[in-house]
Structure formats: C-alpha cells, structure tokens
Amino acid sequence: PNVKLVTSDNEEFVVDFRIAKMSVTVSRLMEAMNMSETDDASLLSNSIPLPNVTKAVMARVIEWCEKHKNDEPKEEKENDKRGRTTHVVSDWDKEFLKNDEFGRLCQLMGAANYLEIKGLFNDISQTIANMIHGKKSDEIAEMFNIHCDLTEAEKKEIRKKTAWCED
C-alpha cells in the first residue's frame, strides 16, 4: 500500500507504507487521521501534509529511507564511559552525505528532526560532529558560515581562561 506525502512546496510524494512509517511524525499523523495499512480507502483519500519539508529535501529523505527500510531496529548505543554518545556512520551513509554543502546538511537535519527519523538524525549528527572535530574556532565559523557575535576582546578573554583545557 502507498501513502501520499505533500511537501511545503506542494509536491506530492507517493511512498510505500513501510517507508512512511519510518518517520515517527508521519506515523503519528496517519494514526490521527485513521489511516491504516489494511484500509486502502483511508490511504487513497488522505494525504499527509509536511509543511516543514521542501521537495528537494524530501527526495533526499526518501532516498535514505529506501536504502534503510530493511535495517534491523538498532538499539540505542549506551554512552561511553566518558559520557559521550557514539554512532557509527555506515559507508553508504558517508557517501550519501559526502557532497552536501553545510546549508543543505542543516536542511536535511531539520527534516530528520521534524520527521523523527532516528537513524538519519544520528548519521547527520555524527557527520557534523566529525566536521567540528579538530578545527579551530574561526575554521568552524567559516565552514558553518557563522557571523560571530563575540568581540575580539571577549574572544581573547575566553581563550585566556580556557587555554589550559585545550588538548
């Protein structure tokens, strides 16, 4: 059975029920609209509005979901002993996210967050964390296109105080 998803720019995506269910948000909406896998009429007569996701982003999300639809449900990794979370990004996922410039990565992240697709969300989180790892603050600012709202004097003061804890 198929489900119709409608993006903010009014594009209709028809996806397999199983794909749609990968998003907790869509799942919840379908339930609220009494749409069920066994009731074809309910699927045909309704479409799910997703006003936070654009056509371009939706296509990427569906591509990811298609690839991962047969994944075993992954157990949430325990935090390591340093209280940090770790997530292994598969080779396919690395390749999938490799060419996204940062703005697009954020859009995809926003969609994964809004749609509540945990696997995709964790993949992008870890990818962005890896981008930050080992970079200096102005390199991060440049990479993320951040307009710094701290004055040079403030930065100097913060650096002076945190100098001791930099590895």
Binding site: R84, S125, A129, H133, I140, A141, I158, C165, D167
Partner: protein, 335 residues
C-alpha cells in the same frame, strides 16, 4: 475525523522556522545542536566557546569536563584554593574572595563535570559564605570518590548543609565516600550530623570518622557516639560497605539493622561499628527467641572474635570483636 489540533501545531512549527532563515545554524533548534555536540568531548568542544554566543551557551550547558582530581582546600592565611587536574592539564584558582568561585567561567569548568577523586579539607577555619559558594560550584559535579575532612572548625559552621549538598541530586551508587569530622572540643552538632546521615543516598562504600574528644580523655562521651539506631538502619540499607564509628545503638536496634542486612539482595556486604559491652549483652539476650544461631563464648582458636551470630539462609554473620572498652560489631555477608 478532526485533525485541526495537528494542523495547528504544524503551523506553529512553520512560523518558528521562518523566523530564523539567515544562517544555516539558525535553522536548527538548540536540542539538535546539543545532540551534535554531545558526540564531542568537552576538550574537543573548547573551540565552540569562541565561535559565537549561541554555541558558547550550548557548550556551557553541556559541561562534562573530566578530571582525575579536584581539591578544595582552605589554606592558611585567608585563601581558599580550588585545584582541578585533568588528564593533560591542570587548573588552579586561589582567592580570598568567595564570590570568585562561582563566576561564569568557574561554573563552566565544573558544570556536569566528572571527577575521579574529590578532596575537600581545611587547614584553617572556613566561613559559611565559602561553603555556600563551593557547594554552588560543585552542584552538578559527580565524583567516584569523595574525601571530606573538616578539623577544628568554628562551632557555627554549617558543614551539614554543605555535606548534604554534596550528596544530593547525583548518581553515587558506585561512589566511595569518606567523611571525617574531627574536633578536640564538641564543635560539631551531633543531631544535625545524624540528620545528614539519615539522608545518605545509595552509595557503594561509606566511611564515617567522627571525633569529638580531647586525646587525653579516657571515657567515651555521649557526643562521640554519632551512630544511633536510625542511622545504623539507614546506612545499612544504603551502602554495600560501611565503616562507622562509636554508636549508642541498642541491642534491638542492632538486631533490626542486621535483619535488614540479611534481607538485602546484594551478595557482598560489610558494615562495622563500635558499641559498649552492655549493648552487646543486650543483643545476645535477643538471640534465643530468633532464628539466628550463635557460637558459644569466645572462640577457642585464640582469635579476637568474641562471638559470632549466623543467619544461614542469607549467609550473613555478625562478628563481635573485643576491642578495649568498646566492642567492634561487624555485619558480613558473602556468597
């Protein structure tokens, strides 16, 4: 079906997103950035502190610096020192001004910090302002081992609230805690300290040292007997291993605590404390009417064990060991 509420909440989300459209980082809410930053250690996050104000706040919120040791010391002169040792670095702060210990920067260093060994001791008299600032500073810091020692402090010093603040609101199930309060005169308030102990959270190992006497005095004074029936029962049910001091427990109190000890589902436990001879006799008087078995009199093999009481069902025992004027009582359980 009526799905108005859902559409309404979607509209809200939409207008929220439209508001932040300039920078890519603004398109994502704080929780998402927190999640991303949680993949990094606190030292890997240091550069974020000078990237922009928002990242700086989020980095502060996450905290989580790891230390091998933090020492809080009231030094001679007026100074108070906080020394923090991380793997490759150390941080030291000395000041006579208590407010210096709860600045934004200090709070950042200790926010949700994890320390292997937290050491607190005084070489001079602390004042209550200092205790309050240090307890604020360490409010979210978790430790594996705490050694706290206050010696010969002023009578009005509120060490009780301070100790309570170090014990509450954190996970200490695997922590070891040693509290040591020593005074050559009765400067510590036994009632307030008992109240602190009755709120002891679950910890792995607990040691209490309590001295309120002049070295030259021979008799044990009532103010030296910190452990009472309620404290014993509470500590027994909240620790895996406890070493306590002189008690004024009753035979019945010891009996009840041992019952709780036997019922506990932990396989390896140990509790020790000291009682005067009449209390031990009071305990022995209760045995004939209980399921507990005892060995006859002092054991023949010449060991110091005066008497041993068993509960075979839970493999638990009470050892009573002669020890000058006071007897040491030990609860032992092993599988």
């Amino acid at each position: 079906c009526d799905n108005t509420p859902i559409r309404h909440s979607l509209m809200l989300k939409l207008s929220f997103q439209e508001k932040y459209d300039e920078e890519p980082i603004s398109t994502l809410p704080d929780e998402v950035w927190m999640k991303i930053f949680s993949y990094l250690t606190s030292s890997q996050r240091v550069p974020l502190g000078t990237t922009c104000k928002r990242f700086r706040e989020l980095d502060f919120e996450l905290g989580g610096t790891e230390y091998t040791r933090i020492a809080v010391k009231w030094l001679s002169r007026d100074e108070l020192g906080v020394l923090a040792y991380a793997k490759h670095a150390e941080y030291k702060m000395f000041s006579a001004d208590p407010a210096k210990f709860s600045t934004y920067h200090m709070m950042r260093l200790f926010r949700k910090a994890m320390v292997d060994w937290l050491e607190i001791k005084n070489l001079r008299n602390p004042c209550n302002d200092e205790l309050e600032n240090i307890s604020t500073l360490l409010r979210t810091t978790t430790y594996k081992k705490l050694n706290l020692r206050f010696e010969d402090t002023h009578e009005g010093l509120d060490v009780y609230s301070f100790i309570t603040s170090l014990l509450k609101d954190r996970k200490l199930e695997n922590s070891q805690i040693r509290l040591s309060l020593k005074s050559s005169c009765a400067a510590f308030d036994i009632t307030r300290m008992r109240a602190v102990l009755k709120q002891l959270p679950k910890v792995d190992k607990f040691t209490m040292e309590w001295t309120a006497r002049n070295e030259s005095m021979r008799n044990v004074l009532p103010e030296e007997c910190l452990i009472d029936d309620d404290v014993l029962l509470h500590v027994t049910s909240h620790t895996n291993h406890a070493e306590l001091e002189n008690s004024e427990c009753s035979g019945q109190g010891i009996f009840s605590a041992f019952e709780a000890f036997c019922l506990s589902d932990i396989d390896s436990k140990y509790i020790s404390f000291y009682v005067p001879k009449p209390t031990v006799e009071g305990l022995f008087d209760l045995l004939p009417n209980s399921r507990l078995k005892e060995t006859e009199g002092p054991s023949e093999d010449g060991s110091m064990i005066f008497k041993e009481i068993f509960d075979t069902e839970s493999s638990s025992a009470v050892n009573v060991v002669e020890n000058s004027s006071y007897y040491r009582v030990e609860f032992i359980k092993c599988d």
